[in-house]
């Protein structure tokens, strides 16, 4: 794996793979096989967690896994395109609200409502993406922030109260007899049981994003990230790949939103708020957007911090400090820091 250790890791340029290691079909297949193996092991290992953790810890892990989906989406975009988004909560919350509206107002069962929610979130991502992907850097950040907050404002208007419940939020209600992939309502709200579904979603999403990142398409994305003009001069269209990457990251966030709505049974405007947008971004950055799994770790840490610090009201004090420290001192985030530690350790082992 060749990486340029001379380049200081920054937020917009991830310490990621360069295109040179995707060489030769043989290597590709071995890589793929290894990836599938890791994913399968993770999938199976995760199923065992409810037997080890108690009810309270289980609920924390579940919340963390759902937030991880949102952070994963944000991280993917940041890692492969160097774009920082403050608007992915629009897809997370939009999917959640769509599910709630379908279930409560239109009497759909949980499964069709979930599909509808996921679909709406992805379509939203497409719509926003079309407006947004031509921009980059600060413009992209502002646009995603503005559009995300615009959706928040729309949802709290009294005019749409019959649909969204405005500030009061919306309960997710469906016929008790109907099931979600065989799970009943009481099982969906139970952390230990619903964890299996969420874990599968998380592993599959992470694996999918990993595949995309390692593929030809991922290489194109990184080329765009490094130098978009050159990509265009080399004959690559840049709008299409950026849009697709945006939609994919939005879809992962929507998946998180759907699972959130099902589990909590209640959707409130807080899922669309500026605070949540900031927190999910911070979770991704602190975890480390240079890596695939960084955002997941960041999300788990955030939930842990939230549990311990939220009551004193100092949660945002600590997340703010964490963000500043990470950006100033540890730009790769925690996983970035671990990676460079590991690499230095290995280099020392090699006797350099």
């Amino acid at each position: 794996m060749s990486t340029s250790t001379a380049k200081r890791p920054t937020v917009s340029v991830a310490v990621g793979t360069s295109s040179s290691d995707v060489s030769g079909i043989g290597l590709r297949r071995r890589l793929l096989l290894r990836g599938v193996t890791v994913a399968l092991i993770a999938l199976v290992a995760g199923q065992a967690v409810p037997f080890i953790a108690d009810r309270f810890l289980m609920s924390l892990l579940l919340d963390g896994a759902i937030l991880a989906l949102l952070a994963l989406g944000i991280g993917f975009l940041a890692r492969h395109l160097g774009l920082i988004s403050l608007g992915h909560t629009a897809f997370f919350g939009g999917a959640a609200y769509s599910l709630a509206i379908a279930a409560t107002h239109w009497d759909w069962g949980p499964t069709p409502a979930a599909v509808f929610g996921f679909g709406t979130g992805t379509v939203l991502a497409a719509g926003v993406g079309v407006l947004v992907v031509r921009a980059s850097g600060m413009a992209f950040l502002m646009l995603t922030l503005a559009l995300g907050q615009a959706l928040y404002q729309v949802c709290i208007q009294t005019a749409v109260r019959p649909y969204t419940g405005a500030f009061d939020g919306l309960q997710v209600e469906y016929d008790m007899a109907r099931t979600f992939f065989g799970l009943e309502a009481s099982e969906i709200t139970s952390a230990g049981i619903f964890w299996r579904v969420v874990w599968v979603a998380l592993v599959v999403s992470a694996f999918g994003l990993w595949l995309i990142g390692r593929s030809r398409f991922g290489t194109v994305l990184e080329g765009i990230r490094e130098n978009e003009e050159r990509m265009r001069f080399s004959g690559y269209a840049t709008f299409g790949p950026r849009l697709i990457a945006f939609i994919v990251s939005g879809a992962v966030a929507s998946l998180g939103g759907v699972l959130f709505a099902l589990n909590a049974g209640y959707v409130s405007p807080e899922t669309l708020s500026f605070v949540k947008a900031g927190d999910s971004l911070i979770a991704a950055i602190v975890g480390g957007i240079g890596t695939l799994l960084g955002p997941i770790i960041g999300a788990m840490l955030y939930i842990y911090a939230q549990t311990n610090f939220n009551a004193s009201g100092n949660l945002h004090l600590y997340t703010g400090i964490a963000l500043v420290l990470v950006l100033a001192l540890l730009p790769g985030g925690i996983t970035g820091g671990l990676t460079s530690m590991y690499r230095r350790f290995r280099a020392r082992l090699k006797g350099r």
Binding site: A139, A146, L323, L327, A328
Partner: protein
């Protein structure tokens, strides 16, 4: 549309104007979207509250902006200067973190309650204006904002340091080559921008009430104003700020949904159709 509503709009716009001029200056020179601007505004308001409770409102008008200038100096020396070789987004995110820290520290010091500051005795009456009774304090806010605007524009246009600021905002490297002390100019700009935010907070204290969410609420609007007006163009930001104030106020009574969505729609339209902003340069 009657006179009172127009005046309401001008008053709201005045606050936006003062805030956005400060942010535009910082953004134009340092290239940083200062996400901590809302927190600075909040700090100004709360400082003014303390000064007003111990002394009176008038000293607060000087002390709070001065205190904020000190905070601005800290921001510049400790963060912006050190991070100037990093990407703008990273620095922006750092200010985001600083905003969260500052807002929490303010609440830890002053508490979670809503605080009010009474307008000073000279200004707490109403005056009959074109057949309408209107609070003098709001007229005072409008007056200060307009005077400040004129002074700021004049200062930038006609003084030496104003020239340096404009040059550095246009092209930092060339200005440095030409011998302008960019670091010193930056310090002036950031301190001034922070002081303006503090002044806006002080003026806002008797106008609206002080509460822990006030920074976050106003931040998005001010960021949008600066981008729409044109990054680096202080005049553009001020104009956009006044326009937004008037639009939101008039819209609030007639069509609340429209009034609320105006800034967002404006931002999307501008960034997609005319990325240089209505008057200024590209981000």
């Amino acid at each position: 549309m009657n006179v009172a509503q127009l005046l309401n709009g001008l008053a709201a716009g005045s606050l936006f104007m003062i805030l956005s001029s400060g942010l535009a200056m910082i953004y134009g020179l340092r290239g940083v979207a200062n996400f901590a601007h809302g927190a600075l505004y909040m700090a100004g308001g709360y400082l003014a509250y303390s000064v007003a409770s111990h002394l009176s409102f008038w000293p607060a008008l000087l002390i709070a902006p001065f205190g904020l200038a000190v905070i601005g100096a800290v921001l510049e020396l400790l963060f912006f200067r050190r991070l100037q070789h990093r990407s703008h987004i990273e620095t922006g995110l750092v200010t985001f973190g600083i905003a969260m820290i500052l807002e929490r520290v303010i609440v830890l010091i002053w508490g979670e309650r809503t605080l009010s500051v009474a307008p000073p005795p000279g200004l707490d009456r109403t005056i009959s204006l074109l057949g309408v009774d209107y609070p003098i304090y709001r007229l005072f806010v409008i007056g200060i904002a307009l005077t400040l605007t004129a002074a700021l524009v004049g200062w930038l246009r006609f003084t030496r340091i104003g020239l340096h600021i404009r040059a550095a905002s246009h092209d930092v490297e060339t200005s440095a080559i030409l011998g302008i002390n960019v670091d010193r100019v930056s310090l002036v700009v950031v301190c001034l921008g922070a002081a303006l935010a503090g002044l806006a907070g002080t003026l806002a204290a008797p106008y609206v009430s002080l509460q822990p969410g006030m920074g976050a609420v106003i931040l998005i609007n001010v960021l949008i104003i600066v981008v729409v007006g044109g990054v680096g163009s202080i005049g553009g930001a001020m104009g956009a700020g006044m326009a937004l104030g008037v639009l939101q106020t008039l819209g609030a009574v007639w069509a609340p949904i429209v009034a609320v969505l105006v800034p967002y729609v404006a931002l999307v339209v501008v960034l997609v159709w005319r990325p240089t902003g209505l008057t200024g340069r590209r981000i």
